[in-house]
Every structure is written in structure tokens, then in C-alpha cells.
Symmetry: D2
Subunit: 334 residues, 4 copies
């Protein structure tokens, strides 16, 4: 379903070419200073406009509809909405017959029997990550002094991001990338053994970001080539700080007081300017398809702030469960 979290719970709604997208946030402690301004800088980072991102431009102006009084959270649900302004009403009939390879067109139709809103990806659209970023900006305030930082590590197989994007645009094809995220200053003792391990809950959330197809913690897949005595992180102080951080800050599902470090892979967007072959599901014939519309050459460029939001949301929920966040904020803390 479209909700996530146990004590800090977010629910998203909206469609790419519908009227609005938004997020309902429950479990917010009372007393946190919050206004639309607090959301702007993260929302700006998610925006398109840079080279390699879609030419669709939206204002992305957040409006907080509930849960705030006298400039502070009240403990009641916070609802944040965005109007869709730059929508296009064109004919999507063809898309129904010939779903785009690699896209959710086919599976959405399978699941919702053709009733889904298929315009621009509908409810499956990356536009819904606006909602995540808004909730993430609030979560970041809740978890202070814990902080979350995310950056692109490579795109299109190249560490020279600008060059790789430029080349991809010339080729008219899309490219993927790899991001790294760090949760800094996080106290030990969050997370549970087994099903609610910090890795479990974090990966659950991270895979709800469209286009992410892999995640690894600490040494990650490289651990397969290491020995135990190499991989074990040696303690260097009485607080549990370690010399290396191959575990990525988590042992037995529980944070150990070192930074949580993880990497994710973002696949190339399925929409490209290249002509592809697809099945016409009405007559069973192959046919060529050129995807119209505005799309990102390298969606990975826009994911860092979304990934931070995902990590902050999970951290807020886990810290509430571990009683590391109070339900009523002291005004001087927020």
C-alpha cells in the first residue's frame, strides 16, 4: 500500500498528470518549528533543469494544509500538497496497446485491469518522490543532530559525471548511476535483530524509490571477496567507534554508533529517445515505438536528495521506536 512506517508514518498520493501530489505525515512530535520555507532547499535539489534532466518544469511549491499551529507542529498529522501545473493533455491511447519496455505500463495494467491512470506514469511516476522529499525535510529536523548526506558516485560507468551525461544526451539514450549515502552521528542501539534490522527497514524504503535496483551496506558486495579478519571492524574507543567501517554502521541489525553507509544503483530510465521494438498487446504483433514526451537522460542526477529523504524518514521512525526521539520537542531544541 501507499504508507510506510510504524511510529513515524508517511502516506503518499497523487498522479503525474492529475491535479496534485502530496504526503500525509503522522507521528510527528509536537513542538517542531516548521513552515514551507524549511522544505524549499531540498525540493530545489530535486528539481529538474540541470543538463540531463527532463525539460518539464514545475514550481513544486509546497503547501502545508494541517498539523501546524503558531509555526510549530502540533502532534496532529501534517499534510503537504503540491499542485501539478505543467501537465499535458495528449492522446495516450497508443500507449495502452503498446506498453513501453522496461516501464510500469504493462504491470500497472495487469494489476489494475486497465483502470489505472496511465498519463505520464500516473501514480507510478517519479513525480511522487516530491512527496518523499517534503517528508524527508521534516524528518531531518526531527532527527537532529543526526544528519543524512547523499552523493552521486558514478553515472554511465564514469566518475566524470558531466562528461558521461553529455555523451548520453548526444546518443539520445539514458544512463544509470550509483549513489552513496551516509547517516552521520546516529546513536547506537537503533534497529532490531532479524525482521526489523536497520538494513531491512532502510532497504524496504529505498526500493520504493523508482529505478533503484540494488543496495549494499558498508563493504557490500566486495565483502564476498574478504576474509573475516579483514572485514571485522576493530574498536578504537570506548564508545564503539571502529577503525574501518566495513559493516556500514550496523551489526546484527542494530546501529553500532558509527556512520551508516550504503550505496544504491539507479537503472537508466526506460524512456529514451531511441526507437524501440514493443509488442502491440491488442494484436500480438511487434511494432516499433518512439517514446514521446519529456524525460530525464540521467534520472540518477535527481536521486540524491530523494535518497536522503528515504534515509531520514527511516531514521526518524527507528529512533522513535528506540525512544531516542521524544514525542514532545522542547521548544529550544527545534
Amino acid at each position: 500500500m501507499n504508507s510506510f512506517g510504524k511510529l513515524f508514518r508517511i502516506s503518499i498520493f497523487g498522479e503525474s498528470h492529475g491535479e496534485r501530489v502530496g504526503v500525509l505525515i503522522d507521528g510527528v512530535p509536537a513542538g517542531i518549528t516548521l513552515s514551507e520555507k524549511d522544505l524549499i532547499s531540498d525540493l530545489e535539489r530535486r528539481k529538474s533543469g540541470a543538463k540531463g534532466t527532463t525539460p518539464r518544469q514545475e514550481d513544486d511549491i509546497p503547501v502545508i494544509r494541517s498539523g501546524i499551529f503558531n509555526g510549530k507542529t502540533t502532534g496532529a498529522p501534517v499534510m503537504i500538497e503540491f499542485e501539478n501545473k505543467n501537465t499535458r493533455s495528449r492522446d495516450y491511447t497508443d500507449l495502452r496497446k503498446t506498453p513501453r519496455p522496461g516501464h510500469a505500463d504493462f504491470t500497472a495494467s495487469k494489476k489494475y485491469g486497465g483502470f489505472e491512470d496511465y498519463r505520464g506514469g500516473g501514480h507510478f511516476s517519479g513525480r511522487l518522490t516530491l512527496a518523499l522529499v517534503a517528508a524527508g525535510a521534516l524528518a531531518k529536523k526531527m532527527i537532529k543532530p543526526v544528519s543524512v548526506k547523499s552523493k552521486l558516485v558514478e553515472v554511465g560507468g564514469s566518475e566524470n559525471i558531466e562528461a558521461a551525461v553529455e555523451q548520453a544526451m548526444k546518443n539520445g539514450d539514458s544512463i544509470g548511476g550509483i549513489l552513496e549515502c551516509r547517516i552521520e552521528n546516529i546513536p547506537g542501539g537503533s534497529g532490531e535483530p532479524f525482521f526489523d534490522s536497520f538494513e531491512s527497514v532502510l532497504s524496504h524504503m529505498v526500493f520504493s524509490i523508482p529505478a533503484i535496483k540494488g543496495i549494499e551496506f558498508g563493504a557490500g558486495f566486495v565483502a564476498a571477496k574478504m576474509t573475516g579478519s579483514e572485514h571485522n571492524d576493530n574498536f578504537i574507543d570506548i564508545n564503539g567507534k571502529t577503525e574501518t567501517n566495513y559493516a556500514g554502521g550496523i551489526n546484527g541489525g542494530i546501529t553500532n554508533g558509527n556512520d551508516i553507509v550504503f550505496r544504491v544503483v539507479v537503472k537508466p530510465t526506460s524512456s529514451t529517445h531511441k526507437t524501440q521494438q514493443t509488442m502491440n498487446f491488442h494484436d500480438g504483433e511487434m511494432q516499433s515505438l518512439t517514446v514521446e514526451g519529456r524525460h530525464d537522460t540521467c534520472i540518477a542526477l535527481r536521486v540524491p536528495v530523494v535518497l536522503e529523504a528515504a534515509a531520514a524518514i527511516v531514521t526518524a521512525d527507528m529512533m522513535l521506536q528506540a525512544q531516542q526521539i521524544q514525542r514532545i520537542f522542547n521548544p529550544k531544541d527545534s
Copy 2:
């Protein structure tokens, strides 16, 4: 917490050197033929005994305590227990002062204030995966004709598994590995956009298996080096079968009718015969530590059947949610 699932729900309990470990399984459809015999073959696959696995030997005989009547499931919760027989009562006092690097000793103590059962890993022990395997064997019956298969792809950086294990034993050090898992025959339409994407729920479960530090679907991390037109899987028939399967059987969080394919990395066990440095948390001095006890040189050897169980459990829950499994089994089906 120690439960997982929405309509098919498992809860685990027990400790490595306690009296028992077990699993309580709820949401099982009525009418499935089930006896302890149905669990044996998967439980055997999990057992130690092969080269590179711990010398601790347990009978691992499952006893079904509830939820069965006249040889069939009743719809009431199924409780399956295992007695721990081969436990050792030795002195763990030292371990309290000098937690093993890379192990959950330190984080467990942080979370439970020293009240945790620290004998042999306590509730954090890999022994709890017995419970997963038992639940997985039942889940496999529920999801038929869907099947789940898992295999080791490499250990210790080598595809020659036997040789790599032998070398590691000689070195007295542990090694990690990579596994691949396939869910075959799974119908399209399971999973949800965003938070309950099939990848989200599956990764949530998979990271509850101790020692797993990464997961990737389909092309996985390699997708970062592909273009969209390479990564998109072309449809080849009217049922949605595709030529390639770089998406790993999932688009937009929803199964597309192709096999679900994913890989995981298993880190080397933290317990090795090598002498390591650790912190004495009582006096803040570094001291050397040799981990006593029986441990696996290559725990990855025992993970395939655990991974299958995890995948089958998730599949059962997702298919129940998608109404692809009936709540009452037809006797002739089971």
C-alpha cells in the same frame, strides 16, 4: 520486532543456547496437507556437517504443535518448535568485557542494557534461521506452482567453491560469498507501487538473514553501466515474457510474469580462529582476543535454503494480498 508479513505472518523465538527455537505462522490457508516430513528436506539442506561448516551438530527435528488436524492445516496458527540439544555451558564472562569485532555482541549490549542472552549469540544467532526454513517449507507448499531456487555463485572471490573453502580452512579464516535466487512461475500483478514494491518487501525480509549485506535485482549494480535501450527488456509474447530479464521480473514494484531474479552478498562470519585485537570495555584497554567455540568457515554454504525460505515467505504474503492464493485450499490442490 520479531514478526514479518501482512496476511501471511511469521514470528520467531528462541536462543542459540536456550531451550528451543521456533516459529509461529499465521494466515496459513486451511486444507494444506502438512506434516513434519514436509519440512525435513529443507531442514537437512540447512544443516552443518559439510566441509567449511561448524562442527556443532543438532538433530533439528521439527515438531508441529498446533494448526494441524487430520494431517491438514486448519487455518489456525501453525507453531513449529525445535529443541536445542547440543548446547554448551561455558563461561562467557570474558565476552561481556571484550565483545567480538564484527559481531552483534556490542550492539546487543547497547540495546538491551546487558540483559541479553549472550551465550552463542543468543537470540541473534544464525540458529534462528531454522525457524525461517521451517516456515519457508510451508510457504513453498502454499505458492505452488510457483517455485523458488537458490544457489551459491561464488565464495571467497572464487567460483571454485570447494577449493576456496579448503584454502580458507587452512588459513583459519572465514570467507564470504554471493548467492543467486530465482522465483519461477510467479504470476504478474503482485506487489505495489512505492512502499510495498516487490523489491521492498523482499529486501526487507532478506536483510533479516544474518550476514547479508547487499541485494540486487536483475542486472543489479551492472545497470549503472548500461543505457536505457540496453536495459529495457523487450516483450516477446502476449503474456509479457521478455527477451532479456534485466529488470529481474519486476517493473514499477510489480511482478511482470517473468522470473524474479536477485543476488545477495554474504559477508564472512565475524568469528574466526585468528587472534584479533578488541577493546576491553571495562578498562578501555586494547587486548587480544581468540574466539573460542564452534563456527562456520563459510556460512554462505548454508544460506541458499534460508534465502529460498525468505523468498517463499514473501511470495506467499504478496500472492495472498494480490488474491492469487485462496484462503481455503481445495483438498485436491495441496
Copy 3:
């Protein structure tokens, strides 16, 4: 928290004197014909305006912001909002010091540390039942041919409702009442033994309606004076219809195919025109309080449609869990 339901899930937001109130509805099957018009008749029934209800008048015009495409539900979350128009900005400072007896003023302040929006009850206001009624109108469409009907049985201890209300208005005091609700045509087999018994889930929801302080099923409290042979409902046909319905349509937590019948008590609203004594929590002195503002003499008059909504929402969720509602509606069914 502010969400309810497992497969059919509603989340509410908003405040009495805030900008909006609304509801986010998840788990709606795709393909149900739905527009704002479908909500109007139930919303009208909830409105004030009749004798004995508050003079605050609101348009209560619902706007569906997501989850609809071509006049039908898509399977994505449905968000429905209402603007608050007739709000009043007056000074509530006194209320902070001298909470109204019988009201949530004191407990809200205890829970949210004084950060709560206290204007007109804030998030605790009966105005939030607008959201329930909107969600209930959608649920009623989902559960067809099951239907839910609710009526006032008595108010102020009198079965002559009009007379009792008139008398109360003369007295300047508020009065309570009793309602009966029937869920008709409901199939057998919904609900679970123990924790998710139909009574459990229904009462959980019903007690979220402000001012309800009791619920009883079938013979209810009268059963305490009956013998088993009187209370047992005799079967009269092969479908399980019974001669009497003292069980209220539920045995062992599971529907038996007879109507579900239950009654609830609505306490008199705490706000009255009478002068009361209250504590000044700033100085610990008793002081007299006259509650300003617009309030209902007999809130019970407005509860029937809210109670129907609560019952329909629960029924939709329980029937989805029992696989008695399909996830994709056949267009001709809706």
C-alpha cells in the same frame, strides 16, 4: 495514530479551525465509478442545521484530489478534501488556563505539551467526522449488495426525539442518545477468532467517533439476564439464518450470515450554555466558566451517518481480507 484498516485503509487530517479537513483512502479496488456527487447525500445527512445542532454552517463540499481517472477509481489512493470556510478567529487564551470539563482540552494539552491547536477542538473536533463520512460513502459502494443503516433510538432518555431536543434547548443543556446500526446482507465467514473478531475491529473503529462511550452487539447487556437456551439463536434454514438474532450476526468473532446489529451510546456534548466550575491550571483556583461558541445541543442527531460510515469502512476491510471483494471491479458491477 490517525490511520485505520489493513487492506482498506483510511487516514484523516485537519483541524476544526484550520484550513482543511480530509481523508486519504488506500486499498480501493480499481474500476469503481466515483465522483463527488456520490458523496453528497451522506454528507448532507451529517450537516448541522436541524433543531438541536450547532449554528455553525459549512458548505462541506468534497473535492476528490487523486485516485480517479475517467470517472472511475484507479487503484491508487483517493484523497478527498474539504475547505473550512466558516472559521472564527477569536481569543482562546482563557481556554488554555481553564480547560472545559468533560472535553479533550486537558488531555490534549497533557499529550502534546501545549503545542496542540486548541481552536474549536483542533484536530480532536467532531468536524473530522466529515472525513469518515466521505470515506464511508466510498466504502458503501465497495461492499454492495451489503448495506448499512443506522438510526436514533432515543435521546435524553426519551424516545420522542423532537420533544426531548426542544426541552434540552430550553434548559440550555446538552443531551445524549442511543443509536442502532444494522449491516444487512453481509455474507458469513468474515472476521477472525480472537483479536480480529468482527466485534473487535468494529468496536475499535466505532470508539474513534467522538462522544461514543459504549457499544453492544445483538442482545448486548441484556444477555446478562438471559439463559443460554434463551440466548442461543436457532437455525431456520440451510444458509444459517436464525429465528432470533441475539448474537447480533456474529459467533466466535465471525459473521454468520445474519444481519450484524449493534447499538452505541453517545454522551451529551461537554459544551453547554450552562455556567460550570473549572480549575484554573495556572493558579490552581476554581473559577466559573461559560463556554462561548457554537455547539450542538444533541450531537447524537448527527451521528447516524457517521456510524454507518464507520461500519461500512470496517466491512469493506473485513470483506477484502475474507476475499469477498475483488481487487478489480468489473465495470458492470460498480
Copy 4:
């Protein structure tokens, strides 16, 4: 399903004439002193043996299988089992054709397609309340100094309980009763507005006790005959203590610091020694039925300790959510 709770979560299993019944308890803070002895006194109170209770006698000896180390809880799940010893293997074939009126026989068969264990009520049996009482005894330790007390108020319409029971035994018929329960010393600020109101969660749990058909808080159904100025509880001190307690300790879903007071009705057990008419569901003919077996004349006699357990379990969960219970107990507190 067979689980209840959010941060303090219990799951029950077993059948009346199966091998065992038991409970798995998750979310228990670490460091609470606990042994089987702590459970005995409540288990004794639930036992049959008194006049008016079933002649079936069971030892009801609890065995704690996990979650305890050195006499204290560890934070890991606590599993408590009871062996069924005094089971009877007789022929229940007739019962399949002619379900007992007022019993779960018919609905269980409807739900589980005839696969349910129908011996002595199977998983629907009141014997499962053993599990609740065991969990309740642990919950009572967690919530100290909050305490829960429950007593019979009337049975068979009479406040003279002994006389009423004696008369019913002579008549060979069963009788119902009314109980009152008080949660004393509970701090203000637990519970949530709307869906997780304290009344909502408590009634949810209470209706999972077999035979309960109604619940009312504070003045309850009598509130329908009161005016607002009568029903409002006047504050008498700065902590929120009130003169009367018509609200039953809860305003707006949240505890106000006064005792929580509620009453429930227990219907007469459906099994009586009287000959009844029932439907033969194989041939559609009416036929007379005499229920064999051992049953309670007045099951209400055994409910008080079960009701206390239900209330304590809910209180533990709500107080954990309100951060009024710490996740790690100080050894000197337990």
C-alpha cells in the same frame, strides 16, 4: 489474525484438544524479573473448579521457553506454553452435521471450509484465554505502579452471585453476567485522538475474549439519559483529578489521569445441558441436540482475571507508545 499490539505484541496459538496452547510475547523490555512463579496466581484465578465452572480440570502449568536469562527478560520474545493433558478423544462426527446454536461451530466451518479442528471448539475455545492470562501477568509487571482490577458485578440478573449460580445449575441452563474493571494509577496522556483512542484499542482487545458482547466506559449507556452539565467531570486538583468519573478516565481518546473504568457483559455460554433444536446441515431437517461434554454453567465466573489480562496488555502497549515505559528496565524497578 492471531496477534495484537504495536510495540507490545502478543500472538496466541493452540487448540482445546490439541497438544498445547501458548503465547508468544514480543516487545518486552529487557531486565524484568520473571519466572513461571510470577504467572501462577493469575492462572489459578482463571481455573475451573468452583461451583458453576466446568468439571474439566487442567494443571495449567506454564513453561517459559524463551526470552529469559538469569531470571530476567532479555528483550527477545518470551514464549509461554501449556500442555493440554485432560483432552478427550470422542466422536465429533455428529457435531459436523448439527452445529450447536449460538456456538462458533457453524461460522468456523463457513470460514475454514470444514478443515477446522472442531474438537471442543478447537482454536476458538475459551482455553486459549490461558495464553492471555499468562501474557497479562507479564504485562502487569511492566506497567507497575499501574494496576488492573476486575470483579463480577452480577450474574443471571442477580447481584447474589452464589444463589444465581446454584439456581442455574438446578435448571441445567447457563447464565451470563456483568463485570467491572478498573485501571488504577494510570498516567494522563496515553491514547490517541480517533482511531487509536484508548477506548478503541481496549475494546478491540476486550472483544477478543470469547462471550463478551458489550462494553461501556464510565457512565456508559446511562450517559444517554444524562445532560452535559451532569456528565462533565469537574476538576478538583491541579493534576486533573475529577470529582466524578463519568468519562471513565478518558477524554478525546486520551487518558486524563483518573482511573479507567469500564464494564462488559458476558453472554451465557451456548453449551447447556438442555435439549435444543438445531438444523442438520446435511439434510436440511431440524433435529434435537443435547450437547455432551463438560461445560461452564456460568463462564462469567472465570472472566475477571482474563479481563484484567486484556486491560493490562493494552495498557502496556499504550504506555510504551506514549514513552511512559522504558525499553530497558532498571534492575531495581522490576
